[in-house]
């Protein structure tokens, strides 16, 4: 609970995170934040507690992170599905809170709107760029609990996520990316939200699945998590599961979430120090 941000009114308690993120209510965002997720796995079953490496991708002004992870696996490894996943998404809160529409009723907490859109070239077969209503509402629900809405009454924050390339596990990437963008915009949050999904195939589980893996999964689980507060904001479970396996899968996901959050946090720090220097 070290990183807890004080609620409005307790101004004297400045926290570590406030200093870290340079909360300056920078509404005009100058930087957008793409997340570059990558999973590589060497097929070594014994390497259960792997490491997550962090690497900045050098596309000039972008704040980008690339994750190359040997995430822990249990049971047998599905060698056939071994591959490197590629997924890119982009989120950006819309230029800070704006005044809510006149037609809307007065509200003493802020409103949050989420829009998830896909580009025409994001899917293997070219489709029309489409809005994903389901993901939009899932994103909204995942973030609602993390943002301190009391800090901007009568106003609305719009969050737009644009999926540039879809390679499986889209929603967790969208959520992590959006929470990073919100933090970058200086909107108050209780904690960063990191999200990880997991697919199960019979006895085996694969973390951060690719679209091929998702197509043949027996069940899936997604957790969005605030590691510093040890709170889960969203939990979805579909398909066939046994109670024991749910427990194991949750452990794996939560572990991966905390590692992901560390990376997100250091990415923010680096960006903040770049801006000030």
């Amino acid at each position: 609970m070290v990183h807890r941000i004080p609620l409005r009114g307790t101004r004297q308690r400045r926290t570590i995170r406030q200093k870290e993120l340079q909360y300056s209510w920078r509404w005009q965002l100058e930087h957008w934040v793409p997340i570059h997720h990558r999973k590589a796995w060497n097929g070594d079953i014994n390497n259960r507690k792997g490491q997550i490496f962090k690497k900045l991708i050098g596309l000039d002004l972008m704040v980008g992170i690339s994750i190359s992870a040997d995430l822990p696996f249990s049971g047998q490894v599905l060698q056939a599905l071994h591959q490197v996943q590629h997924m890119l998404s982009l989120a950006r809160p819309r230029f800070g809170p704006r005044e809510s529409k006149k037609a809307m009723l007065y509200s003493d907490v802020g409103r949050l709107n989420c829009h998830v859109t896909y580009t025409t070239f994001s899917t293997p077969i070219r489709g029309q760029g489409f809005d994903n209503k389901e993901y939009s509402s899932m994103l909204h629900k995942a973030l609602e609990g993390a943002i301190i809405l009391e800090t901007f009454p009568k106003t609305t924050v719009d969050i737009f996520a644009l999926v540039l390339e879809s390679g499986g596990g889209d929603l967790p990437v969208i959520i992590s990316c959006a929470s990073l963008a919100i933090a970058d915009a200086g909107i108050m949050m209780y904690d960063l939200v990191s999200a990880v999904s997991l697919s199960c195939f019979g006895k085996n589980m694969v973390i951060d699945p690719t679209s091929e893996e998702e197509a043949c999964q027996d069940g899936s689980l997604m957790i969005t998590y605030m590691p510093s507060r040890n709170e889960v904001t969203q939990f979805t479970l579909t398909g066939e599961w046994s109670t024991a396996k749910i427990n194991e899968a949750m452990e794996l996901c939560l572990d991966a979430c905390s590692k992901l959050a560390d990376i997100l946090r250091s990415c923010l720090k680096e960006n903040a120090s770049e801006l000030t220097s």
Binding site: E30, W32, L59, D60, L61, H86, L88, L90, R92, R94, F95, H115, T117, T119, T120, F121, S122, P124, R126, G129, D158, F160, L162, L164, E165, G167
Partner: protein, 305 residues
């Protein structure tokens, strides 16, 4: 970010209020103060374009893609190829469909559910320039005469709109076409075309239809420069703020052989003298040299990889 160099309020209100407030309240006067000193608020000279970078292949699942940044303007172009049946009138040519999108992520002006007005205009200009400049030979997109040809879908997304969108879009389009790698296809038993993956191409069973010509030959490359004309001043490569304050835009498109491909001057309050148009063309010529160097560098860097 903001340079106050060249800003010397002489008297009156301008001398009393803060620079940032003055900028917001009297944007035109603020710019004129700068222009009189031949400098712009971002400390550029009037005829200078912003720093430009090209990254090739940011979307691996597309057949060709490029991310272009001109200053803060960021544009992503990707090409996907699909097999189509060519029309009877022109059996041995493929075709290109150009689309330009401005999602709400790119600018505070664009609202969700209400597409940006500028987007279809830029899309049309782009497709005109790409077709009329002779940059790509559509015959190269043919696979089997009268039976099959490639349809190239060029989709350009503006990720951050900070002025000179057409320049960035055109540069990303040419970069994406230079990066385009045509996939191998072969005929299956039913006479349908299927794509051949890289791993199985050595097998004798499948004979690719298009063994050669995996890259398009780009004969001439069109480059463009947008200028803003305000009184006697010509500002190259304007930012969105400059575009909103001053309203006479001239876009010059030249190809790599310094031939004029097109010239747009869409309305605006100021009538242009021909000498001003000539000056714009001179600026565009310099820009073409810069841009072709940048494009050449990024292409050669890709080949090294």
């Amino acid at each position: 970010m903001m340079s106050t160099k060249g800003y010397k309020p002489e008297s009156g209100l301008a001398a009393e209020i803060e620079v940032e407030a003055y900028r917001r309240l009297f944007p035109l006067q603020y710019y004129e103060c700068h222009l009189a000193e031949s400098v712009r608020p971002d400390s550029r000279a009037l005829g200078r374009a912003r720093d430009t970078t090209i990254a090739l292949g940011p979307v691996p699942s597309a057949d060709g893609s490029a991310l272009v940044k001109i200053g803060d303007t960021t544009v992503l172009a990707a090409i996907k190829l699909e097999v189509m049946t060519p029309s009877i009138d022109s059996p041995d040519v493929g075709s290109v469909a150009v689309d330009f999108q401005m999602p709400p992520i790119c600018s505070p002006v664009v609202r969700p559910g209400r597409p940006a007005e500028a987007a279809p205009v830029i899309a049309k200009q782009l497709s005109d320039v790409i077709m009329s400049s002779g940059m790509i030979n559509l015959k190269e997109l043919s696979l089997i005469s009268g039976k099959a040809a490639w349809m190239a879908y060029l989709d350009i997304y503006c990720l951050n709109a900070d002025g000179s969108l057409f320049d960035a879009a055109l540069l990303s389009a040419t970069a994406a076409f230079s990066h385009l790698q045509i996939p191998l296809v072969s005929l299956n038993d039913d006479g349908k075309l299927i794509t051949v993956s890289e791993e199985v191409k050595d097998k004798a069973a499948v004979e690719p239809v298009n063994k050669e010509n995996r890259k398009l030959t780009i004969a001439v490359v069109p480059f463009s420069l947008t200028c803003i004309v305000h009184g006697k001043y010509i500002l190259a490569d304007p930012t969105s703020e400059e575009e909103s304050v001053m309203d006479t835009h001239v876009t010059v498109v030249l190809d790599s052989k310094e031939r004029l491909v097109s010239l747009y001057k869409a309305g605006g309050a100021v009538l242009l003298h021909t000498s001003v148009v000539k000056d714009c063309i001179v600026l565009a010529k310099q820009r073409v040299e810069e841009l072709s160097e940048i494009l050449r560098e990024s292409l050669s860097a890709m080949e090294v990889d």
